[in-house]
Symmetry: C2
Amino acid sequence: MGGDDAPRINIEGAVEVLSKLDSLTKLFLVGDEDILKKQCDEAGIGADSRLEIVHAPEVVGMCESGLAAVRQKRNSSMSISVDMVKKGDADAVISAGNTGAAVAASTIKLRLLEGVERAGIVSPLPSIHGYVLVSDTGANPDAKPRHLVAYAVMSALMARYIYKRPNPNVGVMSNGTEECKGSEFSLKAFSLLRELNERGLLPFNFTGNCEGHDLFETELDVAVTDGFTGNILLKSVEAVAKAYTNWIKAGIMGGGFMPKMGALCMRSVFRGLKERMSADAIGGCPLMGVNGVSIIAHGSANAKAILNACRMAAGMVRNNVNAHIIETMARINPVLKELDA
Amino acid sequence: MGGDDAPRINIEGAVEVLSKLDSLTKLFLVGDEDILKKQCDEAGIGADSRLEIVHAPEVVGMCESGLAAVRQKRNSSMSISVDMVKKGDADAVISAGNTGAAVAASTIKLRLLEGVERAGIVSPLPSIHGYVLVSDTGANPDAKPRHLVAYAVMSALMARYIYKRPNPNVGVMSNGTEECKGSEFSLKAFSLLRELNERGLLPFNFTGNCEGHDLFETELDVAVTDGFTGNILLKSVEAVAKAYTNWIKAGIMGGGFMPKMGALCMRSVFRGLKERMSADAIGGCPLMGVNGVSIIAHGSANAKAILNACRMAAGMVRNNVNAHIIETMARINPVLKELDA
């Protein structure tokens, strides 16, 4: 029931998932049973034996407080979906609904992985070599420097197992690439990562400070920051890409015959760019650090986004990324606690 | 002597300034006298009576620590330029050199305006209605919430006097537009601004929290944040715009005849976009809060950027923006101190 145009996009997504995700054995749609059943029948997937509709009488609105919604709406589609992962009935939950509620429900119900203190959202952004993963992009606005170590580990393991980067390059977002640049917060995170790196405890290549340029045009795989800065970064980057596209469109529309013909000739270029920049190619961002797989899709997700979010979930489950996180954090935490004392 | 391609770009900038800035009475070029004299003669401005070359035997490198450079290189072009403003020989200083050194020299030598506790860099970004001013973009990475009040005042007065926005809309960057969204830091800044707003003390329209979308596609005039987040925001936005352009170019070059012809037909659109996105149209960002006018230009500034940075400086001087800041802060500070106690 989550998303700007729910449940339509979720049903359309289900059609895609059932036809294209080979590893799928069961797809649960959680929400108003009557509505979902009717729409699934109309979409021609009502009789698919892999599909199961689970009734949830309540819905968390997009503007509700996440925490309050989790506590008060125990029969919301959000709550019931996460409960299914908790009980082991489902391997992963995907929601295009209220992000705050998805974070709160996943964190409270699934609890955190052993050795992880805070969950973080990992957002893949298009880069020169594919994707750069930025974390945290909003789960934890008031992070401590040591939380960034766990974000680095979790994102790097995601880069390794999902994006096939065996030795990911990981940086700390800062206001300059020089070692001395940073806020008190980022400098502390930098020094923790450097110490752990020198002791050979990190499952990635720590590259030091990074900034905007490094995200999009270098071989950087992961950039870590607090959830406040990460969220502002993510939304600003999305916004400028959108504004850029709108300004090109306005230039074409206001420019007479030549630009319009030019735009026609360049259709393939713009299509490629749109695909590259589109959040639908990613589908969803994992909330890493919770004991389960929870994928947060954009409110404006479409069927393709839902399919890709399910692919992301399948990759997280198949590669057992959470087990690798627990193992790595168990190795790091004793030293991290000592360094952060 | 500052900038990636100095002193060439500064001399080329001087040619532009001397021919196009009507209000100019004197232009000082500070640096190696022999080099500057020779290049000015070659550029045909050596005999202009408004031009004066001031000898400075040292140069601050782009990678030097700002603070150390100010303390150790007292005869650098940076130090001597700022000294000239301090002594009243010049109305403003413009540098495309080491930003940290420009901030340190300006803050230490010029000192802060009465009632201002921290200087902040104000960066204009292209927006739907012209420009949105983001502050601080890097002078003060570890800001306190009350510093954002002064950034808001200084940027709003700049919006009013330089960009002719009589009642500027001012927001606080946050991880969501709802009132409850934010870090501890941003929520405190929000509450200070709201209180001051309710008491009618602000010379602008406080609009609450803002995020990426608000910057580029709404009537927002000013967004305030700490220098760490602001710097990351600014550089990420610049980087994604650059990556976007490069991806379009790569699509054209790799796309055969049609896209190449299309790009030719769309030349005017791309030129317009380039101008809109170009930092040269701004030229430089004022370091607001210091007792004088200090403009920080991009390291990659060209002649046009230097001209526009001089125009910005002229606007700041002519409109006496600093006097308006002192006056406003004197009205706000007693209440601000009480609220922040």
